[in-house]
Symmetry: C2
Subunit: 314 residues, 2 copies
């Protein structure tokens, strides 16, 4: 039985949206996937009743505290040991859950990843992977999208491996093409960081399928399946891509490609390189987004991404 | 009489596209704007004849050499002293031209700006301004888009001033809103660079209208008229925005907003902070792009951008 823990209290529209999403996921996911809700038991049961679902629809792990969106992550996580996120990390660490999903305080999810389940041995800094639609209708991986605003070249080389493992085993792509986001195609181009990173990624040899530098114009193309960049650049790219959905929607530019820009389509971003499957959702997560985040967690557990990354660094 | 020098040999489709663009601009621009072509005289005259225009349509400054697209900028500019770009900078420096436009080797245009006309006193590093469509149908300014891949906070503070002066005097916007591209709205967020830059830009006081941090999702919105960033980030953003035009075009998503994504609509990017009006065009410049670049040069000369920047740093 696979166990996916969901922070029922996390997100702007929680607990209504999270619980509704959990109910949707329960119908859609295989029977051997169990969703565990973490949060205030009475609130969750009340919400289930309002949604006309049995109060025993899910196992509930009671968490009397909530880390709010605006709270300082480190302080909140160390002080609110009975918060849904703190308890979730405890479950992940003890093996009581195979994955932890939350649309709540991103910083707290990052801090929990770093100090509770901790980075996998050999990983310098975990990174957040994001997903951006490609013109061929698939999603591309972009890593890092915000965990590390300032990076060293060796971190980018690790992101290349993390992203490649994810794309290969979760998306099932053979030898995913890994590109380094840069100013130009030539390898001597770029910032101090990307010039050095290019050489380090190249030196990985056949550990990954490095296709060299890519540029801003390649974000939506199939030039690379996995785009590697520092967390500042990746955050700007991801948010810029996401903002297109509103434009497409307002102008009624809707087709199989543009509808993928809806953040709901993916649901969440995994933190890669830590000892556990941790997925963070958008603050504004709708029930559909929550459902898709839970499904994504399932795929990541099935693919044993943590095990694959450990093996790469063993 | 305003004199705009055009490198007739620069660009993938030169000299045909440049000369055709010059003819288009000549018809469109006021009579007191003179376009001067720099390049191989016989080639230019032959091209004019092919285009069924008189061979004396423009004053021609003969330049027997050409700096090719792939050449090393510094080396090429110092060795090919009779190239169209080298001669163009000479004209700019001597006052024989009020502006220099080229769709040729961007690096050579940058090197010429640095070592021929040179940065304005007080300017740490000149920057390239780019233009990105806003949902309200205007163009926003983004600075830097590639001259400086690695930046210091004080450089970003200067870019804020340069971009603001350009937006105010070329686009005619009163108190343009200047935003710093960052990871989040809160001023303590960001990379080491943007955290420090935020404070330095804030310290400019009423020299500019600083609206604080903006994010990737604000590139196309009216949150800021001028977006300040390092040249790496700006280059990625600009190329990503440009790549949308092909997507819009292919899908027939064409309206008053999306058609602005056509690079031809603007034509060129000014190098700001140097002692002269220098504008670089896209390598693939079409005649329409050349025409619009020449018009943009005219607006920049009329607005006396160089004088305005000098005054700000006097």
């Amino acid at each position: 039985m696979m166990k996916i823990a969901l922070d029922a209290m996390g997100g702007d529209f929680a607990p209504k949206a999270t619980i509704e999403g959990a109910l949707m996921a329960q119908k859609a996911l295989p029977k051997d996937v169990q969703i565990i809700l973490i949060g205030k038991e009475d609130v969750i049961k009340q919400e289930l009743t309002l949604l006309q679902a049995p109060t025993d629809s899910f196992p509930i792990v009671h968490a009397p505290e909530v880390i709010e969106m605006g709270e300082h992550p480190t302080k909140a996580l160390s002080q609110k040991t009975n918060s849904s996120i703190a308890i979730g990390f405890g479950m992940l660490k003890q093996g009581a859950a195979d994955a932890l999903c939350s649309a709540g305080n991103t910083g707290a999810m990052m801090v929990g990843s770093m100090f509770s389940v901790k980075p996998i041995e050999g990983i310098l800094r975990p990174a957040i992977a994001g997903f951006i639609p490609k013109v061929d209708g698939r999603f591309g991986v972009i890593i890092d999208v915000g965990a590390n605003a300032d990076c060293k070249p060796e971190m980018l080389a690790q992101f290349a491996i993390l992203g490649s493992i994810y794309a290969q085993h979760v998306f099932g792509w053979d030898k995913p093409k890994v590109g380094l986001m840069n100013l130009g195609e030539e390898e001597e181009k770029g910032s101090i960081l990307t010039q050095a990173a290019h050489q380090q990624i190249k030196a990985l040899g056949d550990k990954i399928n490095f296709v060299g530098n890519v540029e801003g114009r390649d974000v939506f193309t199939t030039a690379a399946d996995v785009i590697v960049c520092d967390g500042f650049t990746g955050n700007v790219i991801l948010k810029m891509a996401e903002s297109l959905y509103d434009i497409f929607h307002e102008k009624n530019f809707l087709d199989n490609f543009t509808k993928l820009f809806n953040y709901e389509a993916v649901g969440g971003s995994p933190i890669l390189g830590v000892n556990g499957n941790v997925i963070i959702g958008h603050g504004i997560s709708s029930p559909t987004a929550i459902k898709n985040m839970l499904n994504q967690a399932r795929l990541q557990v099935e693919a044993d991404i943590v095990g694959k990354i450990k093996k790469a660094y063993a």
